[in-house]
């Protein structure tokens, strides 16, 4: 092939694509009811956190971008069957765009060392903060009032914190079940390491 740098490494592509699909599936599944409250916990916005925790920054960011692009194009993959440009231009659009930074931040922190639960907690908490960093000012501009945006967003903090803890616990369990997932190099042609197949 004349342009070697343009080829996509298959393993990276597969993980990116499958996790974009994973975030979509989280939206298809109905929310989980916790305790006696009538408010379902929507699983989807844990998707970028989990992608970052499990795939690392580069692939997770790519999969969130792919998911959001496919959604913006008009597929109803956001939870509640929403899709199109609408959700991005709506009041909470900043939180959707923030998923990209969120996945990136989680991935950066998660891949810096041992995949312990405390590290996962810190990574996911930072990811949530990254999402707020974009989402709340966006809402503030939308409302024309930053203070109101803060108050409105505060409603979601308890649920989001619960999701951060859940994502951290889940990610550390997944890493225990599948060691080497995050560290998996891009060039892993098959189960046997060593021979790059060139």
């Amino acid at each position: 092939m004349p342009e070697p740098r343009a080829t996509l490494p298959a393993a990276d592509v597969a993980r990116t694509v499958v996790f974009a699909a994973f975030i979509a599936v989280l939206g298809v599944f109905p929310g989980v009811y916790v305790g006696g409250s009538g408010v379902p916990i929507v699983l989807q916005n844990a998707g970028p956190l989990l992608a970052g925790s499990i795939l690392g920054a580069r692939r997770a960011t790519a999969s969130v971008v792919l998911f959001l692009a496919v959604t913006a194009v008009g597929l109803p993959l956001l939870s509640g069957g929403r899709g199109g440009i609408g959700p991005f231009l709506g009041p909470s659009g900043g939180f959707l765009i923030g998923w990209i930074l969120s996945a990136f931040v989680v991935g950066i922190i998660a891949s810096r060392g041992l995949l312990t639960l405390p590290r996962m907690l810190v990574a996911n908490l930072a990811g949530l903060a990254a999402d707020y960093l974009i989402g709340i000012p966006f809402l503030g501009i939308y409302n024309g009032n930053m203070g109101a945006a803060l108050v409105q967003s505060a409603v979601f903090v308890p649920g989001d914190l619960a999701k951060v803890v859940a994502a951290a616990v889940i990610a550390s369990l997944v890493h225990r079940a599948l060691p080497g997932t995050l560290a998996a190099p891009t060039s892993r042609p098959s189960t046997k390491p060593g021979d790059p197949g060139a």
Binding site: M1, E3, P4, A6, T7, L8, P9, A10, A11, V13, A14, R15, T16, V17, V18, F19, A20, A21, F22, A24, V25, V28, V32, Y33, V34, L43, L50, I54, L66, F67, V70, V73, G74, L75, P76, G83, G84, I85, G86, F88, L89, G90, P91, I141, Y142, N143, G144, N145, A148, V151, Q152, A166, I170, L173, V174, A177, L178, T181, P189, S190
Partner: protein
Amino acid sequence: MNPLGLYQPGSSPLHRLGVGWKLLALLVLASGTFVLSSPVWLGVVVAAVALGFVVARIPLRRCWAAARGVLVIAAFLFLVQWWLIGLDQATVVGLRVIATLAAATLFTLTTRIDAIVAMLERRLAPLRRFGVRPGDVALLVGLMFQAVTTLTRIAGEVREAQRARGAERSVVAFAVPLLVRTVRHADELGEALAARGMGDR
């Protein structure tokens, strides 16, 4: 899920207008609502968007579905704003939300997905020199759709297993097996793609 997405087939002027122009119009309209701060003018914009639904001959059923989603969000914001800031600002924000969301919905209803993908491929063509291949975009989207089907099946199986174990309410008992199988599926897909020559040099 409807394989056509949210598209509502039709042949109105709005359906036939180029994707690029429609997207531009949508962005102009959305930024316009942020510039306007008079409820009257925002009301005019909302009326114009509503007229767009009539011109596009969107069936009432779809209009209702769209309106319900938009109105729920607008009503929520309106009430919160009313409580926090006051009635005037709340009205402006409510109308702004209705105008932008309804216009975006209209865009989505009248634009085919493949037209958007084709437009993206054309627009991405200049990025070719930076190593982006527009054809890859189509491949990624296609692979993602297949993965959605597979993961939905896996998620259903995991849910069943969870129920059989009496752990329906545990998020962890659902997410961990689902993610483990998701990663495994990704690795299988990666091997299949590599076997078909992807990433060769």
